[in-house]
């Protein structure tokens, strides 16, 4: 009856979110007086998981699962949960996890709470704190089924190192042709860029930048910080930037450690989407911009003057702290 955690990997390497969900699962297991079992799919070295409290790893190595497939992955996790008699399953908020979890929940007859931001407030009844109304509120939610699935928000819990060894065990779930009813034909992914979901820092540009030709400095600022780039809704609607960069209520949520908004006024929908970020910085020439009420740090000034200076100062900082 261990806590089961799905630790995602990409090209054999665990994602940071995998260590975060493992850390979280360990604390939940402590609350329940049980252990943590992780499921890894085609990860090359699962021993790393021991550093985040995982006691046992069910290692799946299967070429058929080399490309993500929601139905097949959900099937594998279901079989792992049944084998372990898991009562709690923890997953991340990655696009892939959010894709597979509803399928898993139905098959396990498990109640699912997404966007969870803290440890369970109690385990009997089982209640969690999650965001609702697109970060404009929190909801205390009770999961009343025997098996519970928790979707942990990115960056909500952080990493907690533990000293332990994860015992690895091969696991070979049975997969049927029906699990592969969907065939991936193309993946288009920038490999040299940090994605918004995985980023510690996000640099975002708005209409104040006046045109797509001015995005060079946003990209340079992001480069210096190792950050992902994002944009406001009007910018994506006008086609200055791809939709995948739109953050806000109808775009992507951002839960980074640092969010830097340049030339974004801060409409209520935008602020909702980025509210879970820990530290918010705004650079805008309009002192009345609503973003100043939501930010931790602000500079009232012309982005075209401030941003290049900021890039220089950050480069100096990096040199001095290297």
């Amino acid at each position: 009856m261990s806590v089961l955690v799905y630790t995602e990997s990409e090209e054999g390497k665990f994602k940071k979110a995998a260590f975060e969900v493992a850390s979280y699962a360990k604390e939940v297991a402590n609350m329940l007086g049980t252990t943590v079992t992780a499921v890894s799919i085609n990860a090359s070295d699962s021993s790393e998981l021991g550093n985040y409290g995982v006691d046992k790893v069910l290692e799946i190595k299967n070429d058929k699962l080399s490309t993500f497939n929601a139905k097949a992955y959900a099937g594998a996790l279901q079989q792992a949960a049944e084998k372990e008699g898991a009562k709690v399953v923890v997953v991340s908020s990655s696009a892939n996890s959010k894709f597979l979890v509803p399928l898993l929940a139905v098959h396990l007859h498990a109640g699912y709470a997404s966007n969870v931001v803290a440890l369970p407030e109690s385990t009997a009844p089982f209640t969690v704190r999650r965001t609702a109304f697109t970060n404009k509120a929190f909801s205390k939610t009770e999961i009343s089924t025997e098996i519970k699935i928790i979707g942990l928000s990115n960056n909500a819990f952080g990493l907690k190192e533990a000293s332990g060894a994860a015992m690895a065990e091969g696991f070979d779930p049975s997969l049927s042709d029906a699990d592969f009813a969907l065939t991936v034909t193309a993946v288009d992914k920038a490999t040299d860029k940090v994605s918004i979901a995985d980023a510690e820092i996000v640099v975002s540009g708005g209409r104040g930048l006046k045109g797509p030709e001015n995005w060079g400095m946003i990209e340079e600022l992001a480069d210096v910080l190792g950050a992902a780039t994002a944009c406001s809704k009007p910018v994506s609607d006008m086609g200055w930037r791809p939709h995948g960069e739109h953050v806000g209520q109808t775009g992507k949520p951002v839960a980074s450690n640092l969010y830097i908004a340049v030339g974004i006024s801060g409409a209520i929908q935008h602020l909702a989407g980025i509210n879970s970020s820990k530290v918010k910085v705004v650079i805008n020439n309009d002192p009345e911009a609503p973003f100043f009420k939501a930010a931790d740090y602000g500079i009232i000034g012309d982005a075209f003057e401030v941003v290049p200076q900021l890039i220089e100062k950050l480069k100096e900082f990096k040199t001095n702290n290297a």
Binding site: G111, F133, S139, D188, Q269, G301
Partner: protein, 248 residues
């Protein structure tokens, strides 16, 4: 091709969010309700199927009579008929069960739902509906084409996009990208007049269990004042982000 578009009735994106009855219920006072934005992109995409490939488009909502104006709006935009499952939408699983019945009875080839509603953000109804009806499923869908019984779908992944092919019946968790913001349709007078005559069938819910329950709501703690830094002293921001915020 028979298409069903699932419509959530949600507070307008500009709404201030408040709670009542001891913070256990969303306060609808003064709130304007709209078609969930993620659903509206799907509805418009369904209209294109109808116009270009001759599909029929039904819309469905699980909710009380107060959601009917939202369904009428979907009819005014061009859906052929509407179904309302007459019950309170208590949680994602409960809603998915209600929709599964509608999908099975209606024999739909394609179901388009938003990837999540902007109120409870559960993000589970489309996937659960697919699992309950045995249909194929694509989440965070930003593009879809249908040719015969084969669908080609593009979904957003972290840091990019992925194209896949699958067979109908298919459930899609849609979002912006299915169509653009500028493609969304505002109902015109003719559409509104016609919508009044289109069927809106009210059906009673199937019995099922509720798996999760929102017990209490809370608004985020008010934020402290912003620390303003002079544009002539940008280095100060770097110092504060490092020493005070510990963000770099």
């Amino acid at each position: 091709m028979k298409i069903l578009v699932c419509i959530s009735h949600v507070p307008d994106t500009t709404s201030k969010i408040n709670f009542t009855e001891g913070d256990t219920k969303f306060d609808t006072n003064g709130v304007q309700f709209v078609i969930n934005p993620n659903d509206e992109f799907g509805l418009t995409r369904a209209m294109w199927f109808k116009e270009k490939q001759g599909a029929s488009v039904d819309v469905v909502n699980v909710g009380g009579p107060e959601t009917e104006p939202t369904l009428r709006k979907a009819l005014a935009i061009g859906a052929d008929s509407a179904i309302r499952v007459n019950t309170e939408a208590t949680d994602g699983f409960y809603v998915a069960k209600q929709l599964a019945k509608v999908v099975q009875d209606g024999g739909y080839d394609l179901v388009i739902a938003g990837r999540e509603s902007i109120d409870y953000n559960g993000g589970m109804v489309p996937g659960m509906l697919a699992a309950l009806t045995g249909a194929n499923f694509v989440n965070t869908c930003i593009g879809i084409e249908i040719d015969g019984d084969t669908a080609t779908a593009i979904r957003e992944i972290d840091g990019g996009k992925e194209t896949s092919t699958t067979k109908l019946p298919l459930v899609v968790g849609g979002q912006k990208g299915l169509v653009e913001e500028s493609d969304l349709r505002i109902p015109n007078m003719r559409g509104i007049m016609m919508a009044r005559k289109k069927p809106l069938n009210v059906i009673e819910p199937v019995e099922t269990t509720q798996e999760t329950k929102a017990i209490k709501f809370e608004k985020p703690a008010p934020k402290g004042d912003v620390t303003l830094i002079s544009p002539d002293d940008v280095g100060q921001l770097v110092t504060l982000l490092h020493n005070e915020a510990k963000a770099i």
